[in-house]
């Protein structure tokens, strides 16, 4: 039924399986799935390696320790799962420029990497403010809290406005299979 060789599964199954993975995560590890903490921990590792005095003195790194934890393993697991799925379906491909990006912003790899970097910096700051990203937001919503919806609404506002400003005339995407 769940054939890994298929490129895509019907979205109703995806929705159900996603919910099932969240429940499995709650059952096994008493927490919703999330991996954004692993990047704070990676930052902690870098500071610990090169400036241990600063690491010891910082309150932030008391909360986010320089360790490989559950979050980091989830992150590794996502990469592996996606990799296995992509290879089985024959859609693994090295690329740095998504097709839709090329339509809107051109073929410059440097431009793409520059904006991806900026995106990462802003993303990390926003994640740390609420200790959560989209996966956490899904968890909050499933737990029947208004926090998930408030975050989702603000996310949409920021995303849509930025998209309109950033892509300007290159907004309309060419339909693709």
């Amino acid at each position: 039924m769940f054939d890994l060789k298929k490129k895509a599964w019907p979205l109703v199954w995806i929705g159900f399986l996603f919910a099932a993975v969240e429940v499995i995560s709650l059952f096994v590890s008493d927490r919703f799935v999330g991996s954004s903490r692993s990047f704070a921990e990676m930052a902690a590792m870098i500071v610990y390696l090169f400036n241990p005095e600063h690491y010891a003195a910082s309150e932030f790194f008391q909360e986010y320790e320089a360790q490989v934890t559950w979050s980091a393993m989830v992150a590794l697991g996502i990469i592996l799962g996606s990799f296995v799925s992509a290879v089985r379906a024959g859609k693994f491909r090295f690329q740095a420029l998504p097709e839709m990006w090329k339509d809107s912003k051109g073929n410059s790899v440097q431009k793409r990497l520059f904006w991806v970097f900026i995106s990462g910096v802003l993303m990390a700051i926003s994640i740390r403010i609420v200790s959560g990203c989209t996966l956490s937001m899904i968890g909050w919503t499933m737990a029947m809290t208004p926090a998930g919806w408030l975050f989702m609404g603000s996310l949409w506002m920021g995303g849509i406005l930025t998209t309109f400003l950033f892509y300007n005339r290159g907004l309309l995407a060419r339909p693709r299979r």
Partner: protein, 221 residues
């Protein structure tokens, strides 16, 4: 040379404290094995749901791609009652709830959406994209680590954060919002039912629209 040795020592320390026997269990909130398996399952789901690429995220913000909406409707339609009843039947322990800090949520959400629009990734989607071969995600990781360093240095514990955290309504749920949740969490059930009806209506509407578009394309071709 001693500088390099000391770095090497600290690296070994990190590995030793990370791979302690207490986390090499199969279950538990710190279990490394559990994390890996759960992540693997999620990676497959994200991959098969096309939630591992720029097109899905940016397409959503351009109002041209509805994958996340479609998946989300089913995800919450199944997930909300699943989580509630799993907790009620004691299959799972208490569900971790966030603090409801509206200022922080709005500012962080807006900034997060902005960042998603620029790259078409979020951490989870980015990881799935990396598994698919999108190596620009490695630069995203660099940005994420750098951003965490900036947060640690300049934003954590600052007056700005105190301002954002100033309004904190605690572990709010919908039933508590309506006041009844403080009596019993069973009052969550009508809220879940309400959401379920809303999602069912959206799913029904999208199915009708899909059918209509299919019939249009049949007429044209």
């Amino acid at each position: 040379m001693t500088y390099l040795t000391s770095i090497g020592n600290r690296f070994a320390e990190i590995l030793q404290s990370s791979f302690d026997s207490s986390v090499l269990t199969v279950m538990g909130s710190q279990s490394l094995i559990a994390g890996l398996l759960i992540g693997f399952l999620l990676g497959v789901v994200l991959s098969k749901g096309a939630m591992d690429r720029y097109e899905t995220v940016s397409g959503m913000f351009r109002l041209q791609n509805w994958t996340f909406i479609r998946v989300g409707m089913w995800l919450f339609f199944f997930g909300m009652p699943l989580v509630f009843f799993a907790q009620k039947t004691q299959m799972i322990g208490s569900v971790p709830l966030p603090d409801f800090k509206p200022l922080a949520l709005i500012i962080a959400g807006y900034l997060f959406g902005t960042s998603m629009a620029l790259s078409g990734y979020c951490p989870g989607i980015g990881l799935a994209a990396l598994g698919r071969g999108s190596i620009d995600v490695l630069v995203l990781f660099g940005g994420l680590v750098f951003g965490n360093l900036i947060f640690a240095e300049y934003i954590y514990g600052s007056d700005f954060m105190s301002l954002l955290n100033s309004i904190n309504l605690g572990k709010l749920t919908f039933s508590k919002l309506f006041g009844l949740g403080y009596i019993s969490s069973w009052f969550e059930l009508p809220v879940i039912a309400g959401f379920g009806v809303m999602f069912a209506m959206m799913i029904f509407a999208m199915t009708l629209i899909d059918g209509f578009i299919k019939s249009l394309s049949k007429r044209v071709s």
